[in-house]
């Protein structure tokens, strides 16, 4: 096993670990905003690590791998912010927050059930 395989294996195990942590956060976090935080950030980093591990071990696939990485880096934050806004509009803010700046942005009215 040469050094390229070792680097690839380290990135793959790191990516699997971040996927595991993302799934654990989605299962165990108390409210939907925390679940968005855990499930989107951790899986983004896990996808980066696994794709880098695959690309390091096969250098001729590096272009496709970089394309997927750029696409995930652009699309995943957009999706998570859309989900957070939709969750705020549907369910309102959670009870234990300190400030609610989204309320001012949406015209100062609380959501209606």
């Amino acid at each position: 096993m040469d050094v390229v395989n070792v680097i690839s294996a380290v990135f793959l195990v790191l990516g699997g670990l971040f996927y595991f942590l993302g799934g654990l956060g989605v299962l165990r976090m108390p409210d939907p905003f925390d679940r968005i935080q855990a499930g989107t950030k951790a899986t983004t980093l896990g996808a980066f690590s696994i794709l880098i591990g695959v690309g390091v071990s096969h250098p001729d696939w590096l272009l496709k791998v970089i394309l997927i990485i750029v696409f995930i880096a652009l699309s995943n934050p957009i999706g998570s912010s859309a989900l957070a806004k939709a969750t705020y509009k549907a369910e309102g803010a959670p009870d234990n927050i300190v400030t609610d700046e989204m309320k001012d942005l949406m015209g100062g009215e609380e959501h209606v059930e």
Binding site: M1, N5, A9, L12, V13, G15, G16, L17, Y19, F20, L21, G22, G23, L24, V26, L27, P32, R35, I36, G39, T40, T43, T44, G46, A47, I50, L51, G53, V54, S57, H58, D60, W61, K64, V65, L67, I68, F71, I72, S75, N76, I78, G79, S80, A82, L83, K85, A86, T87, K89, A90, E91, H111, V112, E113
Partner: protein, 89 residues
């Protein structure tokens, strides 16, 4: 040695996917299901990349690109659907 690393990686990814699926099934609100579906899709993109590594086939990465694009579209459409459902499951 390499097989052991593959078992570890697929075990970690599989348990993450299992936990996201449990949240997708039991999630009390509709927004929980939307969040766990987003997580599920990103994990599946990683699984397809790992399968291209295992089977030594670069075409599976094209499938991962298309799956990622469709998953992004699905997240946006599902977010628009969640906006209209006030507090229901």
């Amino acid at each position: 040695m390499n097989d052991i690393i593959l078992y570890i990686v697929f075990g970690l990814i599989g348990s993450g996917l299992l936990m996201a699926t449990i949240r997708l099934i039991v999630g009390p609100k509709l927004s929980d299901r939307a969040v766990s579906l987003d997580t599920f899709n990103v994990i599946v993109v990683g699984i397809i990349a790992m399968l291209s590594f295992v089977y030594d086939n670069g075409l599976l990465l094209d499938i991962a690109i298309v799956y990622g694009a469709l998953a992004f579209l699905e997240t946006l459409v599902f977010a628009r659907y969640v906006e209209g459902h006030h507090g229901r499951s």
